[in-house]
Symmetry: C2
Subunit: 155 residues, 2 copies
Amino acid sequence: MSKTTPLDAAEQSIRLTGAKLTRPRVLVLSVLLKSERALTHHEVESRLPAGSDVNRVTIYRVLEWLTEQGLAHKIAGEDRVWRFNAAAHQHTGPHAHFECSDCGQVLCLEPVQAKPAVRLPAGFRQQAVELTVKGVCADCGPVHGKSRGHGRHQH
Amino acid sequence: MSKTTPLDAAEQSIRLTGAKLTRPRVLVLSVLLKSERALTHHEVESRLPAGSDVNRVTIYRVLEWLTEQGLAHKIAGEDRVWRFNAAAHQHTGPHAHFECSDCGQVLCLEPVQAKPAVRLPAGFRQQAVELTVKGVCADCGPVHGKSRGHGRHQH
DNA sequence: CCTATTTTTGCAATTGAGTTGCATTTATGG
DNA sequence: CCATAAATGCAACTCAATTGCAAAAATAGG
């Protein structure tokens, strides 16, 4: 009953795509799997095991590839920076994200039940609905009393 | 009962801010007012009257300024390009956008009635909800029968 | 195990939206 | 008309992301 580590999970998922199993792919995917929120390219880079020495461009390409394979999900934030999260965290149906207007962090929210019907102009075809809640995350918000000692802003 | 032109409307709105009434501001705002959809910086630039000769940077700055003044609204698209539309088109309440996955065009949709309640994690504060419908716009969609003769894609 | 073949990587250079510093010009108040 | 604060124009810059191409893996087949 050994728990599967993110690394194992990553390796497994990548094998299933039929493409080559490479170190950068495994490492990047396992970084995504370990995070509960969507990560920027830089965040992924800095969370790679020390000395992994994976090229910047390779990270971009792996991230892109993971998205194509459906193993990751790509989110455009207000700061024009892509963020990625592992598809394991994905919900189907209408997708909801939270975006912090202070630090820019993005995370997936529970799927919404009441999918609001939107009226599209004639000739328009709907493919997906995305709901983004903007606000302030716990780290950036006003600390009333509790004083959690971190609050690292990213801007 | 002479109809107010976009130019007049633009001039009026800008006067009301109390700031200087300048040619670039009037021209840019009137371009936004004339468009029913959100425009990128480049679209604004190319729609300025021939020979207006307004600097690229000035357009950025005017667009930014209009947003600060509440005269325009800034939207981040999947293609990491800002789009702006005149605030006259704005609705209050939960905001809905349509984004074409083909040409990237963004436009405002009628406000949604059923604001879906989303459950945020503890410590998170909600400021705004934005609903984005992704799909294919009339110009990019399959032309079944009608054959409208334009369909200019932008990618 | 070794080699052929195809993918991936790494590196360097490039793109393109958006920004900044600073000198010059312009709108407006007196 | 003049002073002056505010905008503009210009050039250079930032920074995420992309591209071309040669070098380096990863699998398939022997």
